[in-house]
């Protein structure tokens, strides 16, 4: 479980996060949603330690990440996996080498064991056959799946995904969503996904945090969204006329 308490983050004079407090639960796909510029990416970067919060606490199963020493943070990060918006695969390494990389760095397994583990992870994301290709030779969706395989290779307790569906077609997005959801349940991870994708919100959102202009505006599950009276949330989720009409029709039929 990850608890965020009264988190503030400023860049010079501009305050981006304004006292966010929330809980991301174990074994669930936790979603952070919000408009562009609302502070989602800044929040996730604070959670993984790529940015230092101005004030507030981030507790990983009770351990205060903000006030940890540098060495403790390094150890803590080994319990995390992250999937970046751009996949962030290492260009000079093959798909297999990318997935093996965390194992090469931190595990005491033999080469054969590391290879087997990496192949198991690639199998889990349906990428057997692509192991000898370089990231530049595979599609965006495949790159995201490699990033997922790399992130889970060390069995992380916490998985962070920064807009995993960006730049993907709706069908591939669903594949990635299903994969993230099933992996979360399989490995009992705390997964936090930063997304704009409404299909993800309605499909896999077990705990949704809506950020609006740097503060937490709403938190709930996907089934609550339809009946929510929060105007800012409904304006964001049902932004298009088509979605507004669909919502109206569903509510009318209930």
């Amino acid at each position: 479980m990850i608890e965020v308490k009264n988190l503030y983050k400023s860049f010079d004079e501009k305050q981006v996060l304004k006292g966010i407090s929330t809980v991301f639960e174990d074994g669930k796909t936790n979603l952070i949603i919000g408009q562009s510029g609302s502070g989602k990416t800044v929040l996730i970067k604070n959670l993984v330690g790529l940015l230092e919060p101005t004030s507030g606490q981030i507790l990983y199963d009770g351990r205060d990440f903000v006030h940890m020493s540098k060495e403790e943070k390094v150890m803590m990060r080994r319990e995390m996996g992250m999937i970046f918006q751009s996949a962030a695969l290492f260009d000079s390494l093959t798909v297999l080498e990318n997935v093996m990389f965390p194992l090469d760095m931190f595990s005491s397994m033999t080469l054969r064991e590391r290879k087997k583990r990496a192949m198991d992870c690639l199998d889990r994301v349906n990428l057997i056959g692509a192991e000898n290709k370089y990231p530049g030779e595979i599609s965006g969706g495949m790159q995201k799946r490699v990033a997922i395989a790399r992130a889970i290779s060390m069995n992380p307790k916490y998985l962070f995904c920064d807009e995993p569906n960006s730049g993907l077609d709706p069908k591939t997005s669903l594949v990635i969503d299903d994969l993230l959801h099933s992996i979360t349940q399989e490995f009992k991870m705390t997964t936090i996904i930063n997304t704009h994708d409404m299909n993800s919100v309605m499909g896999i959102g077990e705990n949704i945090v809506f950020i609006y202009e740097g503060h937490k505006e709403w938190q709930g599950v996907s089934s609550d969204i339809m009946h929510s009276t929060n105007q800012k949330l409904t304006d964001f989720i049902f932004a298009s006329d088509l979605l507004k009409d669909m919502r109206a029709a569903i509510l009318k039929n209930e």
């Binding site: 993984v48 330690g49 790529l50 943070k73 390094v74 150890m75 803590m76 990060r77 080994r78 995390m80 996996g81 992250m82 970046f84 918006q85 751009s86 962030a88 695969l89 290492f90 260009d91 990389f101 965390p102 090469d104 760095m105 931190f106 962070f160």
Partner: protein, 257 residues
């Protein structure tokens, strides 16, 4: 405060800030590698990429510069009062004392420096460095230390190859161009040889190797933004490392002579 003084203090502040950040990055870079096996792999790869792959251009340039120096010396300082071995002697001294260490490093600052800055800059903007940090890896040490040590290791070989090829170029002018006799050239090359000059050349090149690898690494590693900034970092890296090589050459030459 006078406006000019204000601008000067801002420039000084900016330079000091950059220098401070560079030192902090070097502090992170020079730490014990997390996995020696991975470090060794990177170290060998960097030696090949930065050093071995530069041998061709070093040999080519050195050969022609050696030949040209020999021709210029022969044609311009020839006099009945000068011994016939002078052209060979001056060619050796120029190649050994300046070209193979300093000028060759200036050339490498362009080739290797832009390579390092653009590689690390691209890794930064595509979040590959962030990915390393998230994994709990000291990205500065993992990426930069093998480059610096690889360059320091390979540089003495490049200096020796460059000097040897320059002398080869001089022999080319003697055998093919018949500018002078090979015996006169050999006499000049062997005349009053001071072994310390070879060491001096290698010592200087070690300082320059550090500049060529660490300064572009700083510019590349600290890139912010997109591809335009990567290009700018690459240019800044080459300009800064070239300037530093030229400045430090003056001090090192004075110190070691």
């Amino acid at each position: 405060m006078h406006p000019t003084t204000n601008i000067e203090s801002m420039i000084i502040h900016s330079y000091l800030t950059t220098f401070g950040r560079y030192l902090m990055l070097m502090g992170r870079t020079f730490s014990v590698p997390e996995r020696f096996r991975m470090f060794w792999k990177q170290y060998v790869k960097e030696m090949e990429q930065l050093g071995v792959n530069s041998i061709g251009i070093v040999l080519l340039i050195s050969f022609f510069i050696g030949a040209v120096i020999c021709i210029q010396m022969k044609l311009n300082i020839e006099s009945p009062w000068m011994p016939r071995w002078v052209a060979g002697f001056t060619t050796r001294e120029i190649m050994l004392l300046e070209f193979s260490s300093s000028i060759m490093c200036l050339i490498l600052a362009g080739k290797v420096g832009s390579n390092i800055a653009s590689e690390l800059g691209t890794m930064r903007v595509t979040q590959q460095i962030d990915a390393l940090d998230i994994m709990g890896i000291n990205s500065a040490s993992y990426l930069i230390l093998p480059k610096i040590l690889g360059m320091l290791t390979i540089m003495p070989f490049l200096v020796i190859f460059s000097s040897a090829m320059g002398i080869g170029g001089a022999y080319g002018t003697a055998f093919i161009g018949h500018i002078m006799t090979p015996d006169d050239l050999t006499l000049g090359l062997q005349h009053d040889f001071i072994p310390w000059f070879l060491w001096m050349s290698i010592i200087k090149s070690q300082f320059f190797a550090f500049i060529i690898s660490s300064v572009p690494a700083y510019y590349g590693y600290t890139v912010e933004g997109g591809s335009v900034n990567v290009g700018k970092a690459s240019t800044d890296a080459v300009v800064s490392s070239s300037m530093l090589i030229l400045f430090s050459d003056v001090f090192l030459t004075q110190l070691l002579s």
